[in-house]
Every structure is written in C-alpha cells, then in structure tokens.
C-alpha cells in the first residue's frame, strides 16, 4: 500500500462530475472546417509546411517548428487547406492567433504510418524523436512538449514517475473516462515512458471519487510493477506539486522542476498519446474532451479531432442557447472564460463548461478584506494570500514578489473561500503580468543602454581617430616641409643611399618568393598560373 501524505490547505468544492460520466466516450462528428492553431504547445509557434489549396492526408505533418522548442501539427483528417489566417483561439485574452484551416474531404485517408512492434529494440533518442514527431505535448493543460519533458537535465535522474489521474477540478471527467475505457492504453503509454526514464517507482495517482477508473486501472496494471495510489479527494490534489507531495512527501523546490527531486508527473491523456504514437504510429490528432454544464442537454465526453470548433461539440451535446451564460474552457477553478464558441479544440483542451447563470452566478461585488485568514487556511502553497492581495492591489509588486508571489499556482482556492468575494487570483495574475512586463522592459532598456553606450564609444573612437589622423597628417606635412628644407640646405646623401638599398632588398625578396611559388606549383602538378585557383 502506498504511503500517502497530506498537503496543507485545499478545499472541497461541489464536484458535478456525475453530469458527464453517465455516457461512454462518444466520437464527435466531422465538422465543416477544422481550425488548427500553429501554437498549441509551450515554445516557438510552428511554421506552416503546406500552402493554401494543398491536399493533405490524415496524420500528415502540416506545420513544424524548425528551430527552438516545439512540436509539429498534423492534419486530423484528409482534406484541403483552405486558409492560413488569424482566428480566435482558446486563450484567456480572447485574442486571435495564426491558424491553418482544413476543409475535410470526408475520405479520412491516412498517410503512411510507421508503428513500432517492439519499442525495447529502439534507442532512447529514437523513441523521443518518435514522440516529438507525433506532436505530443502535455495534454493536461500546459502543453509542454512531452519529448523535452521526458529528457530531464543530464544530472537529474527520475526515480519516481507519476501518472496524474487525480483530476481534482470539478466538472472535468476527460481523464476519468479515459482511464475507465482505455486503461490498457494508459498503462502501455506509461510503460513506454518508464522505458525511456528507467525510474525505480511508477505510480498512478487517482482521487477516491473515481472508483470505476481505479478498478479499470488496477485491472490493467495487474502483473506489472506499477502502483495505483487512491488518494483522498481534495482540491487541488491534482496540482503537480501537491500530487508529488501526496505520493512522495517531497516538495518541488521553488523555481525548480520535479526532476530536481527525482520525480516526473505525466498526464493520463499524454500517456495515451504516447502509446498511440509508438504502437500505432499515429500522431496526436484527437483528444478526449468533456462537454458539460447545465446548459447542455446531454453532457458527456467526446473523442474530438483537434481543430473541431467548440460550437460543434456543444451542438452535439444539445446546447440550450438561451440559458447559456458563461462558457468556461477548463474547470471552474482554473479555467478561463471564452468569448466565443468558434474557438477550436486544441491539444490542451480538456473540458468545456456551458454554464447557466444560476450554475456559475456572477460573483458578488468585492467587499473589504476582513483578514479572516480563510484564504491562508485554503492555500495549498502556504502563501500569505492577504498580503499578496494588498501589495498587488496597491501596485507594490516588489513586495508581492518578495512574499513568493511566483510560487502561487493560481488554483483559486483562496478566491473560492473569500467571504468578501475578492477576486484574489485575478489580482495575482495582474501582479505577475506586470512584473513580467516590467522585467522584459528592463531587459530591453538595459540592451538599449548598452547599444547607446557602445555607439557613443564608437563615435568617440571615430572622433579620436579622425583627430589623430589629422594630427598625423599635420605632423607629416610639417616633417616633410622640414625635410625639404633640410635637403635644400645640405645634400644629405647617406640617407638616400640607405633608402635605395632598402628598396633593392625588398625587390630581391619578392623575386625569391615568386620563384618559390612557381616551384611549388610545378611539384603539385597545378597549372602554372599567377591567378589563384578558382574554387567552384
């Protein structure tokens, strides 16, 4: 039995998971257009490899990152690229970003696939390249390229590999349903990752409110070394740092990565994507998405092609338009609101909540902080949410940063319990944004200063150079004048002789060199030419 620890703080919000677990995973219908953002991962945006009008096959690479960190984008089905343009993408800003628009031809014709029968015969690097080329980036929400994550810094050995099946946020059931229905693939993906990392311990952590998933996974890991840890339901147990604390008792150092303490966390969906990449050779072109909320008649989970507009999925789930008040992408604790349902499903889209006004009501107006300390009780990172709030609100970002603002995981537990309904997380996000912007500006200003100073130095040098040359010329002129005067005054022969002798010596040396060169050419059989040999 795995020894479990507790993490401090945490809350127990209503789960609302039963809404979407009643139905099996449905395959979403093929939409009219697929919208494929070029950046669905952390790192550099991918560059299109196809042009408008090109026909692409299902699974074909249509955009890739040539330099820098990133993973390719694949065509989720066969069809024609009809546009490369800015479209609304899932992002808290509600802004647009560059997308490839694919019009499916309905044939669903695969490109050639190269599955691997036995990955044990492959090298670590080959496997990582295979995962990268399949476009796998963390399906949990951040979208960090999985191949990069699976290659921790050389001096870090991953001793514990954790598969995060906690799924602690209310409403979301994508991982739950995946574990119930695709437990074998989950375990197979974990085995591949374990083969790459060679950890001494593999754990799948699942919250105890998912007994069906626990049973399915337990059946799938039977006969392997993989542990299944059933952890108490408490938000945010699925936070990477919290889950690590629960399962290992260790804390990820501030500013560090789990690999620093020999731990790595991977998402359930990522494991499935890795399994498909290796065993079927299929790239990441679809994912499981929960469509839920009281504004849809038939909430549930969908296997949707990447690029499927959220509107299509909502329609399939029976959206009750008039009652839709808020559209949340992700969970109700950490997700962000969408301003339009035209955004597509991406690699990181795990849940869409179509909420009615009663379900997720407009928050009460902000009242004064009464320092009740509920927020500090709830904070899983043991921060001082009140102090962070005052400093962020007052614009004292330096003080907020000193109180570990950047350790905040924005889980929302503090805002959830705040009796004065202060949007604490938004204050922290604002403060973080300001600090990052300020830092970027500072770096830019420093560079501008450097360039300015370098330019000043250069101008000064040029000035001095000019000055020096002028002086030299003046001196030269003066000397010549004086010399001329001297020559005129007394016929100074010895000096002239000396000069003539020197000139003769130089002539002699030149002649010697020429002769030598000629000899060398003859030796190497090259044509005797005074021109340098023509390269190319």
């Amino acid at each position: 039995m795995t020894q479990l620890r507790d993490f401090s703080g945490g809350i127990h919000p209503p789960e609302h998971k039963h809404l979407s677990t009643g139905r099996p995973i449905r395959t979403a219908a093929l939409p009219e257009h697929l919208i494929l953002p070029l950046q669905q991962h952390i790192g550099e945006p991918a560059q299109p490899l196809v042009a408008v009008g090109d026909r692409v096959l299902k699974g074909q690479v249509i955009a890739d990152v040539s330099s820098g960190r990133g993973v390719p984008v694949h065509a989720p089905t066969s069809g024609i690229i009809v546009a490369v343009e800015d479209r609304p993408v899932p992002h808290p800003s509600g802004m647009t970003d560059r997308c490839l628009i694919l019009e499916p031809d309905g044939k669903d014709q695969w490109t050639s696939l190269n599955p691997v029968a036995d990955y044990h015969t492959m090298g670590r690097e080959d496997l990582l390249a295979m995962i990268r080329n399949a476009g796998v980036a963390g399906l949990g929400g951040a979208g960090f390229p999985t191949n990069v994550k699976l290659r921790p810094p050389r001096d870090r050995k991953v001793e514990t590999l954790i598969l995060n099946g906690a799924e602690c946020e209310p409403y979301i059931t994508a991982d739950d349903m995946t574990m119930r229905e695709r437990a074998d693939e989950v375990v197979a993906g974990m085995k591949v990752m374990a083969w790459i990392l060679r950890p001494s311990r593999c754990v799948i952590g699942i919250e105890d409110n998912k007994p069906e998933a626990v049973r399915a996974i337990q059946a799938a890991v039977d006969g392997t070394q993989i542990e299944v840890a059933v952890i108490p339901t408490k938000y945010p147990s699925g936070g990477e740092k919290q889950l690590i604390q629960i399962l290992t008792g260790q804390e990820v150092p501030s500013g560090g990565i789990p690999a620093d303490i020999g731990v790595m966390c991977q998402n359930i969906g990522t494991a499935v994507a890795v399994a498909r990449a290796v065993f079927e050779g299929k790239p990441l072109i679809s994912r499981v998405v929960t469509i839920t909320g009281l504004a849809v008649a038939e909430p549930g989970t969908f296997e949707a092609l990447l690029g499927t507009p959220v509107a299509c999925l909502l329609a399939e789930a029976g959206l009750d338009h008039p009652h839709l008040n808020r559209l949340v992408l992700g969970g109700p604790m950490m997700g962000y609101t969408l301003t339009t349902d035209a955004v597509p499903v991406t690699k990181t889209t795990n849940c869409v909540i179509a909420a009615t006004a009663e379900e997720l009501p407009t928050p009460a107006p902000e009242q004064a902080c009464i320092r009740c300390g509920f927020c500090a009780e709830a904070c899983p990172m043991e921060l001082l949410p009140q102090q962070l709030f005052w400093h962020s609100k007052a614009g004292e970002f330096e003080k907020a940063e000193h109180l570990n603002l950047f350790d905040c995981i924005e889980c929302g537990a503090c805002s959830y319990v705040c009796p004065s309904s202060i949007p604490l997380v938004q204050y922290y996000r604002y403060a973080k944004g300001e600090i990052r912007t300020h830092r970027a500006e500072q770096i830019k200003a420093d560079r501008a200063r450097e360039r300015f100073e370098a330019r000043q130095a250069r101008l000064e040098r040029e000035q001095q150079e000019k000055e020096r040359r002028r002086n030299e010329r003046a001196a030269e002129a003066a000397r010549k004048k004086a010399e001329a005067a001297k020559v005129a005054a007394s016929d100074d022969k010895p000096e002239i002789d000396e000069r003539a002798a020197k000139a003769a010596l130089v002539q002699e040396a030149l002649a010697r060199k020429k002769a030598k060169e000629k000899a060398a050419r003859v030796e190497t059989g090259e044509p005797s030419s005074s021109q340098p040999p023509n390269s190319d």
């Binding site: 339009t340 349902d341 035209a342 407009t362 962020s392 204050y427 604002y430 360039r451 330019r455």
Partner: protein, 192 residues
Amino acid sequence: MGINLLLAILVLLALAVVFGGLLGFAAERFRVEGNPLAEQIDALLPQTQCGQCGFPGCRPYAESIANGDAINKCPPGGESTIKALADLLDVEPQPLDAEHGVEQAKRVAVIREDECIGCTKCIQACPVDAILGAAKHMHTIIESECTGCDLCVEPCPVDCIDMITVEPDIRTWTWTPPARGVIATDRQGASA
C-alpha cells in the same frame, strides 16, 4: 565628591570612546557600496535615448537630475518613471512637463522599404544603432532593438519612416486588474 565627579566623567568618556569605536568599525566593516546616484537614476530611465528631455540621451539627463534637475522631463517614461524617480530621490512626484512632450503608447519605427532611397541619414540618427543598411541600399529597422525614439523620422528626406503603435498580441497579453467599483465583471458581446 570630587573623585566621584571625576569617575563619572571618566566612565562616560570611556563608554563614548568604546561605542564610538564600535560604530566607526561597523560603518567601515558593513559599508554598503551604493551605486553613484546618477547610475541609479539612469537605471530607472526608459533608455529610449530620444532626447525629448533636452539632453543627448538618458545618461546625460540622469547626471543632470543627480545635480538637481527636474524629474518630470521624460515623456517615454511617463508617470511611472516620475514616480520611481520621486521614490528614489525622496521628493514629491510632479506631473509630466508638457513642454517636453506627452506620454504615448509604446511605438516602433518601421521603414516603408520600397520608398527608401538608401541615404543612411536615419542610420546616423539612430541612438541605439537599430537600423541596418548601406548607402544606396534599402534600410531596415531591427524591431526588437528599436526604442521608438522618433529620431529617425525627422532626417528622412523621403518621409518613408512610420511610427507604429505596438498593440498587445496574444503573446504579450497580461491580465488586467479587477475593475474598481462595485461590479467586477463585464459582459462582452460575441458572435454566436
């Protein structure tokens, strides 16, 4: 009586010497090497090098402030720079001196390249060497190095340089603070 008085004076004197010595030692031993004032001020200026303050660059203005010049002559820095300077120098912040310009959104210069005649005048004007090009060849601006100082616009004989306001995009976007006032949400119309 006399001896007591003498004793008291001696004790106090001894104490004064000891503590004076300690303080002196501490002042030497734990001295904080501060940046010269002008350098600290220069670090707060935006390094636009635009010269709107009347000085040829940020550094000269910083030196002038260190010698008692007004802190409100920097339009690119605006309110926030004035406030930071006021904090550093422990003086009252003043509003921006309109004589030197008004605070504007961040901008960068862009050359309309097909109109450029390759005169190199802008290259000579750029205080941070952010313009590439050679005589009789088209010039271009290294956008990431441009401070938006405006100095290249004036010398251009064919007026082919535009100052473009930098709009926040999806990669530079950050959260806004919650709205002050009673209601903290806003409704946005969106296409269905």
